[in-house]
Amino acid sequence: MKKVMTGHKAVAEAMRQVEPDVVAVYPITPQSEIAEYYAQYVADGIVRTELVPVESEHSAMSACVGAAAAGARVITATASQGLALMVEILYIAASMRLPIVMALANRALSGPINIHCGHSDAYLARDSGAVQIFAESAQEAYDYMLMAQRIAEHGDVRLPVIVNLDGFTLTHSSQVVETLPDEEAKKFVGDYEPLYPLLDVDNPSVWGPFAMPDYYFELKRAQQAGMEAVPEVFLSVQDEYSRLSGRPYKGFFEAYKLDDAERAIVVMGSTAGTAKVAVDELRSKGEKVGLLKVWLWRPFPRAEVADALSGAKAVAIMDRALSFGNMGALYLDITSAFAGREGPAFVNYIYGLGGRDVPVEHIVQVFEDLRDAKAGELRYLGLRE
């Protein structure tokens, strides 16, 4: 069914259809409405979820860990400072292989305090062990919230999954979203079979033991195996979901007019929509430009991204967060994937920090500047010098 709704509502709809056992949330702009919609579902008896309206995001993730280890299906949502507060426990959730699904309404981290979009929150959790997916639209946020459940709970993965959606740009704007009928969504997500639940009191399990140098390393390596299993699971879940929804999700990223592109942009999140308009404009003038929009950021599909970009002459990699003292994180991901092989000239653009608008003309200018790209350059898009 097609309806006009905000990104918040799209995420809340997916959550309503999943109907997790426990939702532990704390309000923060621009995520709050997700929590509000869900609280209303609970208040109206539409879902049987146990809502835990915690006193902080730290406790939100802590309660998620307790609930997930107990054997419950668990969802949470946050943004920015909230994620920063969660990060300590997010690492622990990943180490316990707990399939907690989280919607992250991307917002620039303080300071200065700012409520608008940036990817510095997602970057903060980059090495946490959580799978990270970026949505371009409310539709993708809805779709990936359902797919995230399957990816997180897959027996070979069992990791937290974060679905990133740009704060305000996606969370607060109304878009057309097509949702699945409830029964189809529920059937797709399926029943949850927890492993070694704490509530199986006849078979006591130990969660979160203490590991010294004799075991810590092996345990962390075992955790990496969960990450290594993600790509295959991701593709098969996408495949099943595409057939069900009629919306084509195929691959770790969307390659938009990229095949014969000489100049390309790589971007994550809603800016991909703007970039598509720029690509279309330039294509109509006969320019060979294209776009690679990353869906799966962690684990990073190194080989596939490198293959997709290898035909271009120059590529602008766009990071919506600074990694102080170095190039942007996405730039490093992609350029390191080209180690030992010939590749295009890569330029790094830092853009859109703190919700700075990214108009089509700016993307057009990036493509223009790529004509004489100086490889390895760090540029700032839309910055007043």
Binding site: V22, E50, V54, S56, A69, I89, V201, V206, W207
Partner: protein
């Protein structure tokens, strides 16, 4: 009502919930408290443990001293973790996936409760989760090397409030966590001590009659940190009780009851003297002044407690 015989029988029946083979120091009060608590609960239990001595000494991978489901997440979040477990339980009962009664217990130290975990505890108390929170109160950060916490008594030597030539130990008074919890108006709050295990068992039993948040702040001697002999755990804790430095009382639905009133209230020096962490107080005028002030504080708090008991029991 448990007596020694009942406690012994329960140890036979349920004593393996927390087994030997942990690596807590000899003379540590914690295993006695943990066993007494777990033995006093009839239903199956799930335990959440904050980071601390108990967690580290009982869960070194790939071993465990726990025969009950057990989770450790971090230092400051035992209350939020057990809240999540309990929320999962409620949801799964509602969906018919679980039918038996399961109870929930959190163990955390004073550092993990009075200091870094206070917010998570307050939140879980206010939300009304059904759990029993046990504070293993040894009055400092023992696991990290005896640093001061907000439970550390005034004048005590701790490694971050050392007794120096100018400053004689911790300058500040301890926080009254028990009363902070009482202010949350939860059904059951108590203070107990390793020196009075029957009293502790009674309190656990009474606490578990209630659905909702319950907290027992248990005085837990640390011979290593307090610089007392290895066999002194019960004796020192008893002196804390008999000097009324650590009164044994409970607050049931707002009604105070002192569960032990010493026949003769001993002077505070009796409790201070055997402990190395207070030794310096007896060697200077400043120290002796602190002892006097400690005594005054104990007297004042004891009188307050007696008054609260009288008032809330309608005898005021």
């Amino acid at each position: 009502m448990p007596n020694v015989k009942v406690l012994a029988q329960r140890q036979e029946q349920r004593g393996s919930r927390f087994t030997g083979g942990h690596s807590l120091c000899s003379g540590c009060a914690e295993p006695m408290i943990v066993r007494t608590v777990l033995n006093s609960i009839e239903d199956p239990v799930v335990v959440a443990n904050a980071t601390g001595c108990l967690e580290v000494a009982s869960s070194r991978y790939p071993t465990s001293a726990w025969n009950v489901p057990w989770i450790h997440s971090a230092f400051e979040n035992a209350a939020a973790t057990i809240a999540g477990v309990e929320a999962a339980y409620k949801a799964l009962v509602r969906k018919g996936k679980i039918t038996r009664r399961i109870r929930f217990v959190a163990f955390a130290g004073d550092g993990g409760t009075y200091d870094i975990g206070l917010q998570a505890l307050s939140g879980a108390l206010e939300r009304g989760h059904d759990f029993l929170y046990i504070v293993l109160n040894n009055e400092a950060y023992m696991n990290t090397g005896v640093q001061r916490s907000s439970a550390t008594p005034r004048g005590a030597h701790a490694t971050t409030s050392p007794a120096g030539s100018v400053i004689p130990g911790k300058p500040q008074d301890r926080k009254d966590l028990t009363e902070i919890v009482v202010a949350h108006r939860v059904p059951y709050v108590a203070q107990a001590s390793v020196s009075n295990l029957i009293d502790l068992a009674n309190k656990v039993e009474r606490a578990m009659k209630y659905e909702g948040p319950k907290l027992i702040n248990v005085y837990s001697t640390c011979p290593l940190g307090w610089r007392t002999p290895w066999d002194s755990a019960v004796k020192i804790a008893k002196l804390a009780v008999d000097t009324c430095y650590w009164p044994l009382y409970e607050v049931e639905n707002g009604v105070y009851r002192i569960t032990y009133k010493p026949k003769e209230k001993l002077p505070i020096e009796e409790w201070l003297k055997p402990q190395g962490r207070f030794r310096h107080l007896f060697k200077s005028d400043k120290g002796r002044e602190i002892i006097k002030e400690l005594q005054e504080a104990v007297d004042r708090h004891w009188e307050e407690l007696l008054m609260k008991e009288r008032c809330t029991q309608g005898k005021g």
